[in-house]
Symmetry: C2
Subunit: 147 residues, 2 copies
Amino acid sequence: MRIGDLAKRAGTTTRTLRFYESQGLLTARRASNGYREYNDDDFRLVKEIQTLQSFGFSLDDTRPFVDCLRSGHEAGDDCVDSIETYQRKLAEVDACLTRLDEVRSNLVSKLTEALARQPNPCEVGDRIATGLDDTTSEPVNAAPRHR
Amino acid sequence: MRIGDLAKRAGTTTRTLRFYESQGLLTARRASNGYREYNDDDFRLVKEIQTLQSFGFSLDDTRPFVDCLRSGHEAGDDCVDSIETYQRKLAEVDACLTRLDEVRSNLVSKLTEALARQPNPCEVGDRIATGLDDTTSEPVNAAPRHR
DNA sequence: ATAGACCTTGACGCTCACGTCAAGGCAAGG
DNA sequence: CCTTGCCTTGACGTGAGCGTCAAGGTCTAT
């Protein structure tokens, strides 16, 4: 499989695959003409990277998983370093959630106060609708209702 | 007040204030020698920007508030555009919270499965502790308990 | 007069994950 | 032979919000 084929299969670009290689995440056998040659393991590796990226992992964060796969493990998270990375990222996500909750409540306060100061909060309909519904707490698993 | 004084008062740097000016957020009277001169209104403006930035606003998002203040309003959010910006940012925060919730639950799943696949999940203590406690849902207003 | 502390503009650096040329080599079909 | 389509390396651009010199002007104290 050449780089264009792998890119197509993985839904990415050749530039991205070469970039992964430059970062030491992906290595390629070379054909006699200098072209990169990939196999199915490489495809799985790219998929692993993409999955982790969708969780907000940086490329550097995916390294333990890549190393794990390349050392022969069936799954990228069959290694201690990968699990520790999961734990660290989970803590980061929790911290981010906490922070966002604070921001959200600050925003709601500000918005409420600003609306209260608005001169005629009744002639709405056109530009200002409160944008506030009864969900005082954050939208645990629901997107904000769209009007 | 010169730029260094304002920077010190606002807890920022002269570079930042000049950058704000380059972005059209802050304007300064010039003294005869070319030095920038600021007043208390400018200080409040910088403070407004800092507050909004702490909510995750980009500099561009602060523009309505800055314009509002400069047009003579007492508060930066005494204008319709500012309120609409609040509403837009609130929606963004909600979307981000929703997304992070998904990521978190995916991460927890992955971590749980990976731990279940680990050979000896009992000889812990050294490197692997589960990092999972009974909070299955996100940490609504509590930071993750540190061990 | 000179050192030191301020100020000025200008310009490059940084992070991250690539996008986007540029200039050229390789292989197959017509 | 020529076009077409793939491939190669290299290098600059992107966005956000500044940090960090560089080279020089200004003001104050000694």
